[in-house]
C-alpha cells in the first residue's frame, strides 16, 4: 500500500512510537490501528487477504473495540464494496459503498488539493480544529454511507464525505499526516482518544 512512512513520521513527530506491520502475530498486541492508503482498492484488499489480516483486524477493532483510524483509501476500505477498476468487496465494517466522484462542469479528477471541511459533528477528533479548515485530499473515488456516521464533509461539485466515525472506528478521506499543523492536530486528537480508551 502506501504512505506508511508519512504516517509513521507524523506519529513520531508527536512523540509516539508506531510500528509498520503486516505480521499476524504482532497485530493483536497493539493499542490502536491506523490504516493509511495510497493505492487502488482491489489491490489493497487483495494484500490484506493474502496476508490473512482481515480476521485479526476485525477481532481487534470490532470485538475488542481498539481505536482505529483509516486514512484516504483506509476509509474507503471500511465499506462493503467499491467499483474502483472492478467490483471488489471491502472490509464491510461500515454500511456503504465506494463510487467514482461524479464529474461535472469544472470538476477535475482526481480531487487533489486543499479543500475546506465542514465539521458536521463536533466530535473529539476535531478538538481545537475550526470548521472550514483546509485539509489535503487526493482521491478519485468517494465513500457513500449513512449520514449518522458522517462527522465532516466538503464540497467538490457535490458533497464529499470527508470524515466518519462509528464508535471506535474513525476515518478521514483527507490526509491528516500531509495537512501540516491542522493535520497533526487531528492525529493528536486521535492519539488522545487512544490514551483515554
Amino acid at each position: 500500500m502506501g504512505n506508511l512512512q508519512s504516517v509513521k513520521n507524523a506519529l513520531e513527530f508527536l512523540g509516539y512510537s508506531a510500528t509498520v506491520s503486516d505480521c499476524q502475530d504482532d497485530i493483536p498486541h497493539f493499542d490502536a490501528y491506523i490504516l493509511p492508503g495510497v493505492g487502488a482498492f482491489g489491490e489493497a484488499m487483495e494484500n490484506l487477504r493474502q496476508r490473512d489480516l482481515i480476521d485479526i483486524l476485525s477481532e481487534g477493532v470490532l470485538h475488542e473495540k481498539k481505536p482505529f483510524l483509516g486514512i484516504c483509501l483506509g476509509m474507503q476500505l471500511l465499506a462493503e464494496s467499491s467499483v474502483e477498476m472492478c467490483y471488489s468487496e471491502g472490509l464491510n465494517w461500515i454500511p456503504g459503498h465506494v463510487i467514482k466522484i461524479e464529474v461535472e462542469e469544472g470538476i477535475r479528477l482526481p480531487h487533489v488539493g486543499w479543500n475546506a471541511i465542514e465539521i458536521v459533528k463536533p466530535v473529539p477528533l476535531f478538538n481545537r480544529i475550526d470548521s472550514y479548515s483546509s485539509y489535503y485530499f487526493d482521491h478519485s473515488y468517494q465513500l457513500i454511507c449513512d449520514n449518522r456516521y458522517v462527522i465532516a464533509k466538503c464540497q467538490y461539485g457535490r458533497e464529499i464525505i470527508s470524515a466518519i466515525q462509528c464508535d471506535n472506528i474513525f476515518a478521514t478521506q483527507f490526509h491528516p499526516e500531509k495537512s501540516q499543523v491542522k493535520g497533526l492536530r487531528l492525529l493528536r486528537n486521535f492519539l488522545n482518544y487512544v490514551e483515554s480508551s
Binding site: 502506501g2 504512505n3 506508511l4 512512512q5 508519512s6 513520521n9 507524523a10 513520531e12 513527530f13 508527536l14 495510497v38 493505492g39 487502488a40 489491490e43 483509501l73 474502483e84 477498476m85 464529474v103 469544472g106 477535475r108 479528477l109 482526481p110 480531487h111 487533489v112 488539493g113 486543499w114 479543500n115 479548515s133 483546509s134 489535503y136 487526493d138 482521491h139 478519485s140 464540497q155 467538490y156 490526509h175 499526516e177 500531509k178 495537512s179 501540516q180 499543523v181 491542522k182 493535520g183 497533526l184 492536530r185 493528536r188
Partner: protein
Amino acid sequence: MLNKRLIACLVIKNGIVVQSINFKQYLPIGRPEIAVEFLNSWGVDEIVLLDIDATPNKRSPNLEMVSRISRYGFVPLAIGGGIKTISDIRALVQAGADKIAINQIAIANPTVITEAARVFGCQCIIVSIDMKRNQDGEYEVFTNSGRKPTGFSPWNWAKQVESLGAGEIFLNSIDRDGCQEGYDLEVIEKVANVVSVPVIVCGGVGHPQHFVEAARIENVSAVAAANFFHFSEHSIITTKAYLENTNINVRLDSYANYRDCLFDDNGRLAKKTDDYLENLRFEFYPKEVI
C-alpha cells in the same frame, strides 16, 4: 471549492538543492532536508522533488535521501528522477513519497503509466512533461534534460498520458526555466484545456504576478516554482498573501500571514507607513501547540 495550490519544486543534483537555468546551468543552494523543513513551516501546499542526475547517471532513485527528507515535511511530497520500474515506485512510496513523477520512462515505455496507476491508484502518478520550442519554432516534448526531442507536441502527449492513467500533469518549460520572465502561458492554456486531470505548471517565475497570470487560467490547478522561493524569508507566505490580494483562492493559514501588507513593484513586501511603525508594539505570539 479547491484552492489553487502553490507548489515548491526542489531540483536536486549530486544530493543538494540547486537552481536550474535552462536545464544547463546549476547553482548550488543547500541541503534538501533544510529546504523541506522551511517550506513546510511556511505552509507550502506541496513539494515536488526532482532528482535530475539520476536518469543521466543511470542511477535508481535515492531512497535514503527520500526517507531522510520525508521526516521534515508534513505536506504532500512528490518525487521524480530515475524511476524506471514499478518496483522503483514501490520503494519510493515506502520511503515516504506520496506521489511519484515520471518523465523519460513514460516516453520510452508508456505502459508503465497504466501499470503504475493500476497498482498505486492514478492519484499517485504524475507525468512530468518538459517542453520547449524546437528548431522549427514548434512546441515539442523533450527528454534527457532537454536534449532529446520526442516528436510529441505537449498537448498531444498530455492527452495521451491522461488516457493511459496519469493522475496529474507537471508541465515544465525548458526555455523559461530559471529565466524569471514568467510562465509560457500560451502552451499552458492549450495543454490545460485538452486534459481533464489537474495540471501543475512550472518554469519561469520571477515575480509573484507570474503566479497570478497562470492561476487565473481556470483549468490550471497548481502553480509551481523552484528558484523563486530561494533566498528570501517566508517566500511562500508572502507569495500566498500576494495571490490572495489579487483574489486568487489560496490556503493562507500559517501563523504569520501578510494579509494586511502591501507589495512594491518588484512583488516584495513594501515598508509599512511610518505612522504604523511608530505605533507598533511587540506582540506576544505564544508557541503553537499541536
